[in-house]
Amino acid sequence: MKLGIVVLEGPYQHEASDTAYNFTVAALEKGHEVFRVFFYHDGVNNATRLMVPPQDDRHIQKRWSELAEKHNLDLVVCVAAAQRRGILDEDEMKRHGKDANNIAPGFRISGLGQLIEAGIQCDRLVFFGD
């Protein structure tokens, strides 16, 4: 089955990102195709490489990045939601005249059309929110 995953909550504060991650891992292990993981609302905060959780805890961003590398996943962060919350890549940094960017490896910033496209393309679009 072709799956789209949507993450609506940020890391640590809510369990939604953990559940989405575990679901994605399980789906891949079962041989399903994950077409895209889309990060929206506070979910965009999963994409900052600047998070520094305690060493004895899971590293939510690294976990997503490593999963993306291993399975060639498309991790997409909504640009409008990202701008509000200060998640920037190199291009966005330059475009808005900011002095830094923070997007983590494996994530890319794009528009909401990517979410709609996932809805059209996938057999199931699965939301993980509050």
């Binding site: 929206y40 909401l112 059209i120 679009l125 929110g129």
Partner: protein, 135 residues
């Protein structure tokens, strides 16, 4: 499966206090460009999004309620509001904003998009949707 899918945007949260309602609306507006079969559902505290007479002046937040009334221009013709959610909050259809669309098949007559449905009917609407976007 045909090229057009049934998209159902499910709105469950109050318009203020969190950003869910505003960002859900942004998805609907962008999604309109993809020419899918779009419907909106309002239930639980989500029904407050459609209660008329918002005043956000003291919140320091933008009043985005006019965007709901403009949804007809984005070809949103089906807005389902759950009766039980209204009643549980002391609300009725009279408390809601007007949402209309122009019916192409009826000489572009202006018609109400809002359909008050029971919880049981809402469950069927959800079961019938191809894609549920839950906010």
């Amino acid at each position: 499966m045909s090229d057009v899918k049934k998209f159902l945007y499910v709105n469950r949260k109050a318009p203020h206090g969190t950003i869910y309602a505003l960002e859900s609306l942004e998805v609907v507006l962008i999604g309109a460009a993809f020419e899918q079969d779009v419907a909106l559902a309002f239930l639980d505290d989500g029904v407050f999004q459609l209660v008329k007479g918002w005043d956000t002046s003291e919140l320091g937040a933008k009043n985005f309620q006019p965007a709901y009334t403009a949804l007809g221009d984005y070809d949103v013709q089906k807005v389902y509001v759950e009766r039980e959610s209204l009643e549980e909050r002391g609300l009725s259809e009279d408390d809601l904003i007007e949402m209309t669309y122009e019916d192409e098949d009826d000489d572009f007559a202006e018609k109400s998009s809002i359909r008050i449905v029971s919880r049981e009917e809402m469950a069927k609407i959800m079961a019938d949707a191809d894609v549920i976007l839950s906010f």
